[in-house]
């Protein structure tokens, strides 16, 4: 994320870190990138967990729901909005993208990273198979996630220009499904689907662990967990930005060039 921010040759007066948590991302910001960072998260405890001294730049904190961004941030006010690993928790993704665009100044930039695509497909399928075989039905244990394709459509739909969307796949090896589930819980990424079943039967859980092992096992006996991070960059349209020319306005004949 920070590397991507460094690619933008601008010094900001202030950036907004949307869904910041305690500010993992913002702690990496240096004074030559921005003067100030505004953290915004829906969990007050997490937001105020770490003291200002851990940050290199000036900090402001806003405790608010990300999905009601425009209620706390005026329109056309932000130079840059960052969001690192929080948008996959948002219920109304198209809605929040529109709000982000509205909150940005013209020619303001949005940089986001979220989990999506094939993230945790091994866990998802193992639990589905275990439930189907043991109990004869399935229920969601892994949140629905967006695809990189959808992400570029959504960004375009929200009105961003000069889009960049790319995917980074990270495979983490675990001794077994149990350690993966421990880690997910510690990351605060447990199942939070509304109306989910609140328990998994012990038999189903052990069956899933056995299936995970059988279907995805590496040669050394460990099991992989896939995380796909979708990175998006989009700009709010402004008259100063370069635009594609009208069709048929080209002056050079391609035949001569090739």
């Amino acid at each position: 994320m920070i590397e991507r921010l460094l690619d933008i040759k601008r010094k900001f007066n202030s950036v907004l870190d949307l869904g910041s948590g305690p500010g993992h991302l913002s702690k990496m910001l240096e004074p030559y990138m921005t003067q100030k960072v505004v953290l915004l998260d829906s969990s007050e405890k997490l937001l105020k967990r770490d003291p200002d001294s851990e940050f290199e730049v000036e900090v402001e904190r806003i405790h608010a729901d990300e999905e009601r961004l425009l209620e706390v941030v005026p329109k056309n006010s932000q130079e840059a909005i960052l969001s690192c690993m929080s948008l996959h928790w948002v219920n109304d993704l198209p809605g929040i993208l529109v709000q982000i665009k509205e909150a940005l100044q013209p020619d303001g930039v949005f940089l986001g990273a979220l989990l999506g695509g094939d993230t945790l497909f091994e866990l998802r399928t193992s639990l589905q198979l275990a439930e189907a075989e043991r109990e004869g039905g399935i229920s969601p244990h892994v949140s629905p996630m967006t695809d990189s394709r959808d992400m570029s459509n959504l960004m375009g739909r929200a009105g961003f220009t000069l889009l960049t969307v790319d995917v980074d796949e990270v495979k983490v090896n675990y001794p077994s499904m149990w350690e993966l589930m421990d880690d997910l819980r510690d990351m605060g990424e447990s199942n939070a689907v509304v109306g989910r079943r609140h328990i998994i039967h012990r038999d189903t859980l052990t069956a899933a662990a056995a299936i995970y092992q059988a279907m995805h096992q590496n040669e050394d006996g460990s099991v992989p967990a896939t995380f796909q991070v979708i990175y998006v960059i989009g700009w709010k349209p402004a008259p100063s930005q370069p635009k594609a020319l009208e069709r048929g306005t080209g002056q050079t004949n391609l035949k001569e060039v090739l």
């Binding site: 075989e133 001794p175 149990w178 859980l205 056995a210 299936i211 059988a214 279907m215």
Partner: protein
């Protein structure tokens, strides 16, 4: 992160994890293989026998019934 076999399992879930991956590994593998052979057309109780053995081993190891 603790992995089974290296640290003593304390909570019931940790014990279950340990037994399902270490103590009853052979039965778990059999069950996994059965699923692997049938997963394109999975039905309830497709691997009932294999799971019964796996479950019995776990109940034995956990020293409780459920």
């Amino acid at each position: 992160m603790s992995s089974p076999g290296t640290s003593p399992a304390t909570t019931p879930l940790k014990k279950l994890a340990l037994h399902s991956t270490v103590t009853c590994a052979a039965q778990a593998t059999d069950y996994g293989k059965c699923i692997l052979a049938t997963y394109t057309d999975i039905k309830k109780d497709a691997c009932k026998e294999e799971f019964a053995k796996f479950g019995a081993c776990l109940r034995e190891a956990m020293k409780r019934r459920w």
